[in-house]
Amino acid sequence: MKKDMICIVCPIGCHLEIEEDEKSLLGFKVTGNQCKRGQEYAIEEITNPKRILTSTVKIKNAHLSRLPVRTNKPVPKDKIFECMKEINKVEVTAPIRVGDVIIKNILGTGADVLASRDM
């Protein structure tokens, strides 16, 4: 069965088509991609969709009341709302440096939540 999708790896947004292909080593045939990452994305999107998660945590002693954070790796799409619950429990105190680990290995996904800026 053919499936249409738009690649979200970068803002170019290639229109991809993916279908199962027993002859291929990867098990799928992907068309419409301009780079190799598009192929990887399409296959992963069908087998195990993941997303980089960005949000904020509370911060004390800073000129703003929220610190932006991000996961350093994509997390499974179906765990995003659970991850948000974990992120929303956190409160940090300034000073914080960009790249500081705010939550290590969130929910066992292997992804760390990092600070997105100095504050």
Partner: protein, 422 residues
């Protein structure tokens, strides 16, 4: 009176890149004037990822992208003033600014770089009928409240307009526990990038209603709901198609307007299509020695392109200060032909370009399988095949100017044509 070689107005992505490049081009006397309490501009509230794919070959968040430029700027000891409002600029490059520490300042500059960015179109500009309750926000304002100030703006949200900020906010609000009931877009195609339709709307099953608009806002003190109607091909609401959606918040993501109040004071000529100054190959406006870059010039969809354009402004402002920008020689105008809304730059002075010039443009509709043709005097200079062109995505064409030299050409036109080969 203060005196600087180059004064940069705005400390967002455009101003940062322009100032850094001017310094790298040998100018030491540079001052950035920033209205906000910190550098980085709009990037500080764009906490999502997707920035820097061209520039750094990685996907950064907005604050991470800004951080790299801010640190470089500080390491280079470039002067900047925060919380500083520029009140006036003049043709002879006198800048008047004010802040609570220095008071009123008159600054004499040899060159000025305009990097003020843009503003959001508001409810007032759309004239949506109905009552005037609280709970109507522009998407960028909501983004700042949630991501920087820590305020949630509503529980049940409808979004008008499918610009990128609106799409990003649809996801952000959903993650923070709000219910986003739908996004209405008056055009027949989405306003934002395809990837944002996918990862912000489709990931969370948020419906996108194309060719629809909000025709009434209801509620006395707070928004209680909106009426949404289908529109015809002339974007007029079709009677009988009204649907009522209960909500407590309406977000507007209906376009950005370059902020050119200062440019007008210096009699800089603006293009009514972009709302930004008319610039030449060096990013210089119609007033000699005043340059413009970033969203004040035309609204970009990628910050990476803002950085590239702003570096060019910074480098050329430095050349101007050193007396190395030339007004003489062959001048070629760029003319948007069929299907093209505008082209930046508007004028190419061949003397100032070594080999290549990048032309940036937007198309006026959705096109499939077309050719973009660059021509002059009916002679084709370049031809590019495009499978898909959309107004929300900026197109870039690189021209080798050596092809244009010494032929007595006065203009080049870019137009779209159906691709007969497909």
């Amino acid at each position: 009176m203060l005196s600087y070689d180059i004064v940069v107005i705005g400390g967002g992505p455009a101003g940062l890149a322009a100032a850094i490049q001017a310094k790298k081009s040998g100018i030491d006397s540079i001052l950035i004037l920033e209205r906000d309490r910190e550098l980085g501009g709009i990037l500080n509230q764009c906490i999502h990822n997707g920035f820097g794919i061209h520039e750094f070959k990685e996907e950064l968040t907005g604050p991470e992208y800004a951080d790299r430029f801010i640190k470089e700027l500080i390491n280079m000891n470039i002067d900047y003033k925060l919380n500083t409002m520029v009140l006036d600029i003049s043709k002879d490059k006198i800048v008047k600014a004010i802040n609570s520490k220095d008071g009123f300042m008159i600054i004499k500059a040899k060159a000025i770089i305009l990097a003020m960015g843009c503003r959001e179109r508001t409810r007032g500009a759309l004239a949506i009928p109905g009552t005037r309750p609280s709970g109507v926000f522009t998407a960028g304002t909501a983004q700042r409240f949630i991501n920087m100030e820590g305020y949630m703006i509503g529980k049940k949200v409808f979004i008008l307009g499918s610009g990128d900020i609106g799409l990003i906010m649809a996801r952000r609000l959903t993650l923070e526990g709000a219910q986003v009931i739908g996004v209405a877009e008056i055009m027949a195609y989405p306003g934002g990038l395809a990837r944002n339709i996918m990862q912000c709307l489709r990931d969370y099953d948020i419906p996108l209603m194309l060719s629809h608009t909000v025709t009434e806002i209801r509620g006395k003190d707070r928004v209680e709901g909106v009426v949404v109607s289908k529109v015809d091909e002339n974007r007029k609401p079709i009677p009988g198609t009204e649907k009522y959606f209960e909500c407590d918040t309406l977000l507007l993501s209906v376009g950005l307007i370059p902020e050119n109040e200062l440019s007008k004071k210096a009699d800089i000529e603006l293009n009514p299509v972009t709302g930004g100054p008319i610039v030449n190959e060096s990013m210089e406006t119609t007033v000699s020695g005043i340059f413009a870059c970033g969203n004040v010039l035309h609204v970009h969809d990628l910050v990476d392109y803002v950085t590239e354009e702003s570096r060019r402004a910074g480098e050329n402002a430095a050349k101007y200060v050193k007396g190395k920008l030339y007004d003489s020689g062959e001048i070629i105008k760029t003319i948007p032909g069929k299907g093209i809304r505008y082209i930046v730059p508007y004028i190419i002075r061949l003397e100032n370009v070594r080999d290549f010039v990048n032309l940036f443009m937007r198309v006026d509709d959705v096109y499939k399988d077309v050719k973009m043709i660059v021509s002059s005097n009916n002679i084709t200079i370049k031809e590019l095949k495009k499978r898909r062109l959309v107004p929300s995505e900026m197109e870039k064409i690189t021209i080798n100017v050596n092809q244009l030299r010494g032929k007595g050409l006065s203009d080049i036109t870019i137009r779209l044509e159906e691709d007969a080969d497909i």
